[in-house]
């Protein structure tokens, strides 16, 4: 509270109502008056009581509770569901004043509240109370049955509160517009006004809270959904402004190797996965695979089902080769089956949160998440879903949610918009062709990881779950028997092709051999030519030598002079003239 005081001029006390302390930046104003207005069954009494109990338990502050409408016994009994241990607090810290007039009380003339205030002041001194609740002030005012007297007594209470320095919470029932108008002066007299509202949308009840007025303090003026759980009341606020959870690159198996490949290694640890599809598209089976894989890694796993009982889930998954029984026996897997109890989404999520905090699973399956939202396409439920998923992220829990898509919204969009929040979205649909209904699996999106864009056929058998390539022919995805036929045809074509290519290969080999043979002939011819050339050269050389020798011999025989020179090789020169038609310039050798 000290920290709050630094930026809030009004000193505040925490109510312990989760969310409310956030939107009011620290709770209710200290030593001032707060009015809680609302219709019957909105949770006014719970709000007031929780603020009082929180003060007593956390700050050890005593408090007074003045009940005008219900008997204090009833209030204490009703609050037993919240686990606040009121009887123990009642002995030391809390005092309940039964201030409800019985019908037997005879009203005779005008009266006032001086007596009650005197009693309360004495009691407050005795136990050191600084907080007080007037629960159901409208009942008291109704008894006065006189507008002037009502106003007089309200101002008497206000003056008394100001004088005594109590932090006060006054609750007022408003039933329709008229009652609200009648006691509207209450709103002007107090420093803080909180309005609770019970609202029915499409037959589902919602409780909402709105801070209408808060003198001297900033506050969030929007309406927020309320849920009641064993911890008391809590508000679903928008949660932290920043997403402050760690992310990891760790991948965990989907339980289906082929799907792991499609996702380039599996789901991200701590991410949320949405598996959507029509009824019977094996959503639960995929979820079961994930649960089994998680248990195989030795991780605590929680399977929440809104459809079936644990035994039925185990049996069904066994039929497709997924055996969860040992995991359940070892306690690693806990299957929690429940019906969606009532349409109040906030309450449902609150119950799930408690279950998760209790079980502390690393992996979670919610089958189907749409059970919590299909009844009402209400903004509040989308908010609640988002918050729940954020909560799981903070807990680093990997969650696989299934979402049922019925005939009304087959267009790959879910009522709650969870598809936009999901990190990975896998969609399984039916493809009906050639008198068959087959399952087609696609990855619609997967944040932070590459993924296959291919449609795969999902097949279930007693041997297990498998993903198979789906064939595309003439613009159609082929599955089931059509795919099998296609595969057979492919095989035949392949065989035909193999034979044809072998033939072609042999033909080529022949050509190659022919070419090689030709090459050998040419090579041999080359050698012959070379030999001929060499032979020719040798023959020519011998002839010249012979001629020179002959000439020398001739000169010798003629006794010729030494300085007579004869041109050598006149034959060559003559040939050159004949061939070129002109005399070579340097024909001498």
């Amino acid at each position: 509270m000290k920290a709050q005081a630094q930026y809030a001029p009004v000193k505040k006390m925490l109510t312990g109502i989760k969310g409310f302390d956030d939107i009011t930046q620290g709770g209710l104003p200290i030593e001032r008056n707060t009015l809680i207005m609302g219709g019957p069954g909105c949770g006014k009494t719970v709000f007031a009581l929780q603020a009082l109990v929180n003060g007593a338990r956390r700050s050890h502050e005593a408090g007074l509770f003045v009940a005008f409408e219900e008997s204090t016994k009833q209030i204490v009994a009703n609050a037993a569901t919240f686990g606040w241990d009121l009887p123990a607090l009642e002995k030391k810290k809390l005092f309940f004043l039964d201030a409800h007039l019985t019908p037997e009380d005879v009203k005779s003339g005008d009266f006032d509240l001086m007596g009650m205030l005197a009693v309360l002041e004495a009691k407050a001194k005795q136990i050191g109370a600084k907080r007080i609740v007037f629960d159901g002030i409208d009942v008291l005012l109704g008894l006065l049955d006189d507008p002037i007297a009502e106003r007089r007594e309200v101002y008497r209470i206000r003056d008394w509160l100001t004088r005594t320095g109590f932090t006060a919470i006054i609750t007022q029932k408003i039933d329709g517009v008229e009652a609200g108008m009648r006691y509207s002066f209450l709103q002007f007299m107090v420093d803080c006004v909180v309005v609770l509202r019970h609202q029915v949308v499409d037959g589902s009840a919602f409780r909402n809270l709105r801070v209408k007025k808060y003198r001297g303090s900033g506050f969030d003026s929007d309406e927020f959904p309320i849920s009641l759980s064993s911890d008391g009341m809590q508000l679903t606020t928008r949660g932290p402004m920043e997403f402050e959870y760690d992310v990891t690159d760790e991948r965990i198996s989907t339980g289906l190797p082929r799907l792991d490949n499609m996702l380039h290694g599996g789901y991200h640890r701590g991410s949320n996965v949405l598996i959507s599809g029509a009824p019977g598209t094996a959503k639960s089976t995929l979820a079961g695979l994930f649960a089994a894989a998680s248990c195989a890694r030795g991780e605590r796993t929680l399977y929440v089902s809104f459809d079936e009982g644990a035994a039925q889930i185990t049996r069904n998954l066994k039929s497709v080769g997924i055996n969860l029984a040992p995991c359940r026996k070892s306690g690693l897997l806990r299957i929690y089956s429940t019906r969606t109890r009532g349409p109040n989404v906030e309450d449902q999520f609150a119950a799930l949160r408690r279950l998760i905090l209790d079980q502390k699973p690393r992996c979670l399956v919610i089958d189907p998440l749409s059970a919590l939202s299909t009844k009402v396409a209400h903004l509040a439920s989308a908010d609640a879903t988002q918050q729940f998923l954020d909560f799981l992220k903070l807990q680093k829990i990997t969650v696989v949610n299934t979402s049922l898509m019925d005939g009304l919204n087959m267009d790959e969009a879910t009522a709650t918009g969870i598809s936009t929040i999901a990190d990975t979205w896998i969609h399984v649909s039916y493809i009906v062709q050639d008198g068959e209904r087959n399952r087609a699996l696609t990855i619609v999106k997967s944040r932070g990881t590459g993924h296959s864009n291919q449609v795969r056929e999902l097949t279930l058998s007693s041997e297990g779950v498998a993903l198979t390539d789906a064939f595309i022919a003439q613009g159609k995805v082929l599955m089931g028997v059509a795919r099998w036929e296609w595969e057979q045809e492919e095989l035949a074509t392949k065989q035909r092709n193999e034979v044809a290519s072998e033939l072609a290969r042999l033909k080529l080999q022949i050509s190659q051999a022919e070419a090689a043979a030709r090459l050998l002939v040419v090579q041999t011819e080359m050698e012959v030519r070379t030999a001929e050339i060499a032979l020719l050269a040798t023959a020519t050389g011998s002839a010249t030598k012979l001629r020179r020798t002959d000439r020398a011999m001739l000169r010798k025989m003629r006794h010729a002079d030494d300085d007579v020179r004869l041109p050598l090789l006149p034959r060559v020169r003559t040939r050159g003239v004949k061939k070129n038609g002109k005399v070579a310039s340097n024909g001498t050798d």
């Binding site: 004043l97 009380d105 509240l113």
Partner: protein, 101 residues
Amino acid sequence: MGRISAVARPKQKQALRLRLYIAGNAPNSLRAIENLRAFCADKLPDGHELEIVDLLKDPSRALADGIIVTPTLLKLSPLPAMRFVGNLSDTSKLELSLVSG
């Protein structure tokens, strides 16, 4: 503490015992005392027992009796016990309950 004024000794076994809670000199409280005294003098000649308790001086007694508003008149006996709230300006209700009952 309270101002006790026994007007007369009760004759019956079950005497009429009344207790009036007031808050100091609050206008309604003073009016209640006046109204009650006048009513008793007029309508209860057989006598009764009346105790007047000032809440401001003795709040713990009011707590024990479950007093919420002032003034409040309690009929302690004869049974059934009854409770009247207000300044007792409407004596017809008192008459109906105390005289005939």
